[in-house]
């Protein structure tokens, strides 16, 4: 398939960045094994910039690579991001994992990415029923921070309101504690402790994850009820107020645990309680690291 105008713009920016030496690596998308698949690509030479491409199949959050030591060693890096992924870049800057000076953000206007299972059946059009839930609630079709912006050639996403994103949250909220427990026990029962959710998450960057800490071993590593619940709850808790909602954990999960229900519920609660949304401002103080006299304290009886 020929280059689109978007691809050409993208390739030009990457080529210039690499040629001028402003960056020594550009992380972006290349065409995949079939038309409905995009794959991450790492461009270090200007002449390879032609591999870069972008389409509604660019589902991956490439910010995940920024935490890798083998990527970090390139120093100055250019990265192709959608609005959602870019929030991860911001959160990483907020948490001192990368420096704003070392990153060139190539922001892509995005009207939604198509669910992989639907794309695999041949769907190439962005529509309400084809995109991920995160796209339906997206408020950052244009990234909040960028050095370059490439506008979309795709038609805008039209929302009829018939598809309710994250409808599971409302269902969960109406459940009793026992019902919720039963629901999650069933879901977590599927967990095989592969930690794909962690590996796919751009904000799970600890070099030693808490689950790998032994002496003492706070979290059971075996894949059974207690250990599974411990892992999934601590993962969610460590991301509360931090998760930017890219959905990569859920996409990576081989046993289809609805992780975004937890993530979005946490994000919703954090917003309602503290008025904070993650990844919107590199100068904001992350909610986890802030305490003030006006914090609610109804839980102190």
């Amino acid at each position: 398939m020929a280059n689109t105008k978007t691809d050409e713009k993208l390739q030009k920016i990457a080529k210039d960045l690499l040629e001028s030496g402003e960056v020594s690596l550009v992380i972006g998308y290349a065409k995949g094994s079939n038309l409905q698949r995009m794959r991450p690509v790492f461009i270090t030479k200007a002449e390879d910039a032609g591999k870069l491409s972008f389409s509604p199949h660019a589902v991956q959050d490439l910010a995940v690579f920024l935490k890798k030591p083998e990527v970090k060693k390139f120093g100055k890096i250019g990265i192709v991001v959608k609005g959602c992924d870019e929030k991860a870049v911001n959160a990483l800057i907020q948490e001192y994992q990368i420096s704003r000076d070392n990153i060139k953000i190539i922001g892509m206007e995005c009207n939604g990415v198509i669910r992989q299972n639907i794309a695999d059946k041949g769907e190439t059009n962005v529509s309400e029923s084809a995109v991920y839930d995160k796209c339906l609630i997206c408020e950052e079709h244009i990234p909040v921070l960028y050095d370059f912006l490439i506008e979309s050639e795709e038609p805008k996403l039209v929302l009829s309101g018939n598809v309710k994103p994250y409808s599971g949250i409302e269902k969960l909220e109406s459940m009793s504690a026992e019902e919720k427990n039963a629901f999650w026990a069933k879901e977590f029962d599927k967990c095989i402790k592969c930690y794909a959710c962690r590996q796919a998450c751009p904000l799970c960057y600890c070099s030693r994850c808490i689950v790998e800490k032994n002496m003492p071993q706070w979290i059971d590593t075996n894949s059974e009820e207690t250990g599974n619940a411990q892992w999934n709850l601590i993962r969610a808790y460590h991301l509360s107020g931090r998760c930017i909602g890219c959905g990569e954990c859920e996409r990576a999960c081989p046993v289809n645990i609805p992780l975004m229900l937890i993530n979005e519920k946490m994000a919703k609660d954090v917003y309602n309680l503290f008025g904070y949304k993650s990844g919107l401002d590199i100068n904001a103080k992350p909610v986890f690291g802030v305490f003030s006299e006006s914090d609610f304290n109804d839980f102190i009886k």
Binding site: E95, Y205, R208, I210, K213, W218, P286, F288, F291
Partner: protein, 660 residues
């Protein structure tokens, strides 16, 4: 292999009355690693401590658990006893079976079971204790006193007389604070300025005291022994070292009679260039740029400059920032009076002759606006009848503050007495709720005001004050006779409530000390550590802590000074070794620990290889600032911070001990 000794204390019947101490001892003896278990009536007594020391020796113990009272009480006692036998003092753990068990439970069986659990947890903890060394922080033997009222001056003088350098910072153009505004002082009626000015002069001339007036503390960082202080010396527009205090400048100032005198509480006027009062220390005027014509009208007026003999007026002087390093700080920022105008029914601010107690002090003062003759602000006539209203704002949770301002009962009695002395044949009425006169000579003083000076005391509140034909009609209740009272007065004096100095909360935040909901600084312990703030190295004095009278303020100033002299008698300050500790291998430098640290104890540390190349950045704990609170431990996602003595594996072992 652990060799643990468990000591179960009866605390007389305090513990033994509710907890089966023998059972706790028996259970302890069963735990692997426990080589000695003992119960005793009072472990903290000399024989108790001796038996502990003997068993350490005999059984060659590696750790000790005391099932006893709160570690707040005797942890130190037992640590010292253990240290005498060569055991690291941090190998002593306390299971609190008094405050957390016997005092809060009634059912002996269940209380005993809980006591056993707590003891077991501590046995597992002590098995995992590592030796901890206390941290030694070097001390800069210099002190900062913030606020030059009587408390601050007393603190500064005592510290300076102890041979230690002091920096005394005062916001106003002169030191002296509130006390120098007062006329005569209860209960001895000695003149306030007569006893205050010698202290002010002494502070100014003391070789160990560096005085910064018209200056404010701008920023404070650091910790005990090593506080970095930035002091803003506001532009005075007068070169202090050249000024002779002759007064030619303020006499020449055309802004005469235009600016209300703060010192005289708006009862007189001052010029733009002024000294607040004739005995000001230093006797160097300040040019108030907010009202000076030179600054307001483009630099034309320079009458003060023309009049000045030594030409020490300099309109171009700028604010100066002075940086100092000190080892200890006294916060003595004093108080303000509540804004009484919110009591609309009393007409303060509406009727000129309704004044505050502090204004009445100025009317009484020989150096005041009326040179000590009591005159009504409205027409300058001498009042024949004055109504004094106590508890205006104080003890009034609805509109004011719930606390008692403490000094009003006494100064009102003094006001009524001095009024009787100065205006013969006059009559005063005092509305009060209760009379609080508990210090030496106070009750006799109030009695004297009633019995010798004829003041009529009415127990009740005033409901309304209004003006009628040149008189102030005061309506109130006399609850003792059950009658409504109406008095036609020439003047009304309101005993206004005391509140912390404006901005003291900001200062407290800068200092990192705690304050109560009103803004008064809180003591480290209200009874046993009344001079210490919640932060090591910062001490408190005077009304900034709460309402108190002059002798109490002086005592508190001296107390703070003696604490500082005691601290400075050593070259180093020992900080408990139970502070945070970073695992640099696993730290990913997200610095949530730094964000949540209330003590600014965490900084960034670069780890470099031998060639100087940066390997990684990690969190670093400043032992002088860390209090071991553990907030960072909670914030660390990768569990890369522990607090020594409360290590992760110890907490885990404690929990596990409960499960079996």
């Amino acid at each position: 292999m652990s060799r643990i000794g468990v000591f179960v204390c009866w605390c007389g019947s305090n513990i033994a009355g509710t907890v089966d101490v023998e059972k706790v001892r028996e259970e302890a003896a069963k735990i692997p690693g426990v080589v000695s278990a003992l119960d005793y009536k009072y472990m903290c007594s000399d024989p108790g401590q001796n038996s502990l020391r003997n068993i350490i020796k005999e059984k060659n113990l590696t750790g000790i658990v005391l099932a006893a009272c709160s570690p707040h009480m005797h942890e130190n006692t037992f640590r010292k006893a253990a240290a005498k036998e060569g055991l690291n003092p941090y190998f002593v753990e306390i299971a609190n079976i008094r405050e957390q068990v016997s005092w809060v439970h009634e059912d002996k069986e269940r209380a005993t079971a809980k006591a056993v659990d707590l003891m077991k947890m501590m046995v597992e903890k002590v098995k995992r204790d590592r030796p901890i060394e206390d941290v030694r922080v070097p001390l800069n033997k210099k002190a900062l006193v913030i606020g030059g009222g009587i408390a601050g001056i007393q603190a500064a003088l005592d510290i300076a007389n102890g041979g230690v350098e002091v920096i005394l910072v005062e916001k106003e153009p002169s030191i002296g604070g509130r006390m120098i505004q007062l006329d005569e002082t209860f209960p001895t009626l000695d003149c306030s300025s007569c006893i205050m000015t010698p202290k002010m002069v002494e502070a100014n001339q003391h070789p160990n005291i560096k005085l910064y007036t018209y200056s404010e503390v701008e920023d404070i960082s650091g910790y005990i022994g090593n506080f970095k202080v930035k002091i803003k010396k506001k532009a005075r527009s007068v070169v202090e070292k050249d000024c002779t205090g002759c007064g030619e400048c303020w006499n020449a100032c055309p802004m005469h009679k235009n600016v209300k005198s703060e010192f005289n509480v708006n009862l007189s006027e001052r010029t733009a260039i002024y000294v607040p009062f004739p005995q000001a220390v230093p006797l160097v005027p300040v040019l108030d740029r907010s009202v000076c014509l030179h600054f307001k009208k483009g630099g034309k007026c320079q009458k003060c400059y023309d009049a000045c003999g030594p030409k020490c007026i300099n309109f171009d002087l700028q604010d100066e920032i002075i940086e100092e390093t000190v080892g200890a700080i006294v916060a003595s920022t004093g108080y303000d009076l509540m804004d009484t105008s919110m009591y609309g029914e009393y007409g303060y601010g509406k009727y000129k002759d309704v004044i505050s107690g502090l204004q009445f002090e100025r009317l009484l003062s020989a150096s005041g606006p009326t040179e000590g003759v009591i005159k009504r602000p409205s027409d300058g006539k001498t009042p024949q009848t004055i109504v004094f209203v106590q508890c205006v704002g104080s003890r009034d949770p609805e509109k004011g503050v719930p606390y008692c301002s403490k000094v009003c009962c006494m100064y009102t009695a003094k006001h009524a007495k001095l009024f009787a002395h100065k205006v013969h044949g006059s009559q005063s009425y005092v509305f009060y709720i209760d009379i609080r006169s508990t210090s030496k000579g106070y009750e006799e003083f109030v009695r004297g005001t009633m019995e010798q000076d004829g003041a009529i005391y009415l127990r009740g509140r005033v409901s309304k004050i209004y003006e009628d034909e040149g008189k102030l009609i005061v309506k109130g209740a006399d609850t003792l006779s059950g009658n409504q009272v109406e008095i036609a007065a020439d003047m009304v004096v309101l005993a206004t409530g005391v509140i912390p100095k404006k901005g003291s909360d900001k200062l407290a935040q800068m200092l990192g000390i705690s304050y109560d909901k009103y803004g008064f600084f809180t003591e480290s312990h209200p009874k046993l550590r009344p001079a210490e703030s919640s932060t090591a190295g910062i001490f408190l004095a005077g009304m900034a802590q709460g309402p108190r009278d002059i002798p109490e303020s002086v005592v508190s100033g001296s107390a703070a000074a003696s604490k500082i002299l005691g601290l400075f008698s050593k070259n180093e300050y020992e900080v408990e070794g139970t502070i945070a500790n970073v695992n640099e291998a696993t730290c990913v430098a997200c610095f949530y620990c730094q964000r949540v640290c209330a003590y600014n104890a965490i900084s960034k540390k670069e780890i470099k290889d031998r060639s100087g190349k940066l390997i990684k950045v990690v969190a670093n704990v400043n032992p002088g600032l860390c209090t071991g609170c553990g907030a960072c431990v909670n914030a660390c996602f990768s569990k890369s911070i522990d607090v020594k003595g409360f290590m992760d594996d110890q907490i885990y072992a404690e929990i596990k001990a409960l499960a079996v």
